[in-house]
Symmetry: C2
């Protein structure tokens, strides 16, 4: 989003693909009730983000979740769940050890219920900083910190694929509370739609949000949006019941990329996916759905197997992976024969 060379076309390469870290903390002595990640002071989060090479540019909050728009993507903090999603050449895995110390000191947690680190394949891995140049290198760092994690590559290796490192410690009971995450990772987007996310076309983030229809994607979201100069867009949405959505847009034609993510519970994501892809008109996109057994989305795998096309977008690849605590469905769609 934030670029050093401010040109919509002919711009310096920017990696829109995000690294996504989600950690559910707990306390091994059953003291988790008294722990809260939101007890961590703002200046501590800001110091942590310096290690990642990004900073807070906007903040919104309600009783259940704190949502940060970052110079590169977003951070969501709730009682026991930490989500950090960062694009460009940020280094989120470098903050893991300081994060764990910070969480222990200020929030009181001393263990993990679930850890997820995931990302799509980078378009330009050569531009990344260590340990993010290869997934192997990322896994090596994660394994040095966490024990018994599992790593997966879903989709076609070295082509359209999505990497996941996940850990659910055996001594931690399965979450009874429903949880689900939908991600839609879009590439080669429609230039007309992308042009909305430039200062040249939209005078404000609000205007870009409304003109594009982002405000219509999921109802009842309180939106905190940001339009970058000269181009690029980020938004966080939160609901009173603690659900979130987040969208990040790299609009430059040569490397356009849009990510959409939400944890709203749905028994079918067909309509949400349709609205998102009709809004952004990607040439190709990856859909990933995590759902635990208690989630209404637990039938998503069966649904996605049946969704062999969304209008002009054909399903090219589908993979299903049963994890310890979650079912995971990966699908890849593209408009033209690949």
């Amino acid at each position: 989003m934030a670029e050093s060379e401010p040109k919509f076309s002919g711009a310096e390469y920017f990696e829109g693909v995000e690294k996504l870290l989600e950690i559910w903390f707990t306390h091994t002595d059953g003291k988790a009730k008294n722990c809260d990640l939101r007890s961590i002071p703002r200046n501590k989060w800001e110091s942590l983000l310096q290690i990642v090479h990004c900073e807070v540019i906007s903040f919104s909050s309600n009783e259940l979740v704190d949502a940060y728009v970052l110079s590169e993507s977003s951070m969501f903090i709730s009682k026991n769940r930490f989500i950090l999603k960062t694009c460009g050449t940020t280094t989120p895995l470098q903050c893991l050890e300081p994060l764990i110390m910070l969480v222990n000191q200020h929030a009181g947690f001393n263990s993990y219920e679930d850890v997820f680190y995931s990302r799509k394949n980078f378009k330009r891995p050569d531009l990344q900083k260590s340990p993010h140049r290869t997934f192997d290198e990322e896994v090596e760092l994660l394994n040095a910190i966490f024990k018994d994690g599992s790593s997966y590559c879903l989709g076609e290796e070295d082509s359209e694929c999505w990497y996941l490192y996940t850990l659910h410690p055996n001594n931690v009971p399965q979450l009874a509370q429903p949880d689900q995450t939908l991600e839609i990772l879009m590439s080669d987007l429609d230039p007309k739609v992308m042009s909305l996310f430039t200062k040249a076309s939209s005078s404000s983030a609000l205007e870009a949000t409304k003109k594009s229809g982002i405000d219509k994607l999921i109802p009842n979201m309180r939106i905190d949006d940001f339009l970058f100069d000269p181009c690029g867009y980020s938004m966080n949405g939160i609901t009173k019941s603690g659900y979130y959505m987040t969208i990040h847009i790299t609009p430059e034609l040569e490397f356009s990329y849009v990510s959409f993510e939400t944890n709203i519970p749905q028994s079918s994501y067909k309509d949400v996916i349709s609205r998102v892809i009709e809004t952004f008109k990607p040439g190709k996109f990856v859909v990933t759905i995590f759902a635990n057994k208690a989630s209404p989305a637990s039938a998503s795998t069966h649904e996605m197997q049946k969704l062999s096309r969304f209008g002009p977008w054909m399903q090219r690849d589908i993979q299903f992976c049963r994890l310890n605590n979650y079912d995971l469905t990966y699908t890849f769609y593209s408009k033209f024969p690949s």
Copy 2:
């Protein structure tokens, strides 16, 4: 199977995990009817196998298929399908270019309908010869020969996983004829069962085949079996209708490994899988099923999703992958919490 140090226990490490190459040949000018891989002379196959570092030790045949037992596993040749499965430190990908020339010169084919190269993760990749030390290296060689192939890693990377490289050229129509392959790749096997596959316990291959119950696994198979000295076992079975089965056993306790493979069509593989694992009693095993749309096995994915356990063996991982021409299901089972 063939070891340099003849000890059942304390033996030199032998990699039972096979590299499996399956190529369906065709002719771009519709002349495939006049082509036949079985026109290739035996001495040409033997020269080819020298490049792979293995040799023919037994042969059986019927109207539809030629089946070779090799010093390291098996080779099956039918009109347009080539299957080479080799264990140890053999180098099957080194024979690809000479194979393609041989097939063109003596069998007349000039193109491929489908190409599959697959293997489980090696226990000791460090002992392999190039290009088999890493899957990346194998894919690099395959991509240098074939265009537009896709590579996958199913299961947990660097742990229990199974690699696949596959190619279905876009200009080749989808196979209308039903096709399916079931593989069961077993590790940590029962020592009592394994001891049957030693010269000390069985005086002949036939005795090992009967005492173990291998002859009862699939009916109507004409069996060509071989018992290695001092231990190790291979068998090929073929039916009049052209189906095959093949089993390879590395019985040494420290690195016991058994592979089972067949292409018999079944609407459910539950009974076959049960018979195989009850015969060999592995600590853990991988099941892979390929089935095209015309195959009665095309519902296998749904079936395997429901088979969360086989007696004491619990399903730990399941992945499903929709390829161009085939659906592929990967599952991993183990006896004890892993």
